[in-house]
Symmetry: C2
Subunit: 117 residues, 2 copies
DNA sequence: CCGAATCCACTAAGATACTG
DNA sequence: CAGTATCTTAGTGGATTCGG
């Protein structure tokens, strides 16, 4: 939809980050494997349709993998691919900006968690 | 719209980056002061309404400033604020990802790259 | 439990024409 | 030149229900 003219290209990222919930969804996945229901509760009040839509889109673009464990009840896990993990610096930059603006009351523990990587 | 629950908060950024054209618009502004017409041509085929909407939104959020130079013909300049400039690392992270994916043909290197594989 | 399938509502964005 | 004023369109996202 966007012309992929090259220098300074950020268009590929824009395609992936498109959608109201995508970034929030990725934030959850950066913390590890998640099940559908977990994501749904965490992103509340997202609708199941929207969550499915976003997950499928991310799967198509090679950002997440979907693993089905057959059985009743169903068990499905979503996990970031390598490609998806590499998006984390973008997320980190956003968090850094948000904190530099002091928009957040600023819990001092939040940073030590970040340094774990 | 989005619950500003705090730890790992990226919501303030999401509010700013919202909209189909916002990031592309910011990319232009990172390169310096721009006039309305310049932005319009650069972002073609954006409509004037949309461009105005986005610029006003960014102004409201303290990301850009609008300076009117009276006279005929009209002359208006848009420039990033300090706060807006600090968004650049996010943009840089996106660009880095896009290039690491090799989504871009990479110009003259593409041929030799092809031969090596 | 994890979705698929509908249907609907909302709003960002586009087209177009016009003005200070 | 730099917008504003309308109107229309399209695409998400929400609500709900149902199935494997």
């Amino acid at each position: 939809m966007i012309d992929p003219a090259c220098p300074d290209a950020i268009e590929p990222v824009l395609e992936i980050l498109d959608g109201k919930w995508t970034l929030l969804l990725l934030r959850d996945l950066f913390n590890g494997i998640k099940r559908f229901g977990e994501l749904r509760r965490s992103l509340h009040p997202i609708s199941p349709k929207t969550l499915t839509d976003r997950l499928r889109m991310l799967e198509e673009k090679g950002i997440v993998t979907r693993t089905l464990y057959p059985g009743v009840p169903l068990h499905v896990e979503y996990e970031l691919t390598e490609r998806g993990q590499r998006l984390q610096p973008i997320f980190a930059a956003m968090r850094a900006w948000a904190q530099s603006e002091g928009t957040c009351p600023k819990k001092e523990a939040s940073e030590s968690l970040l340094l774990k990587q």
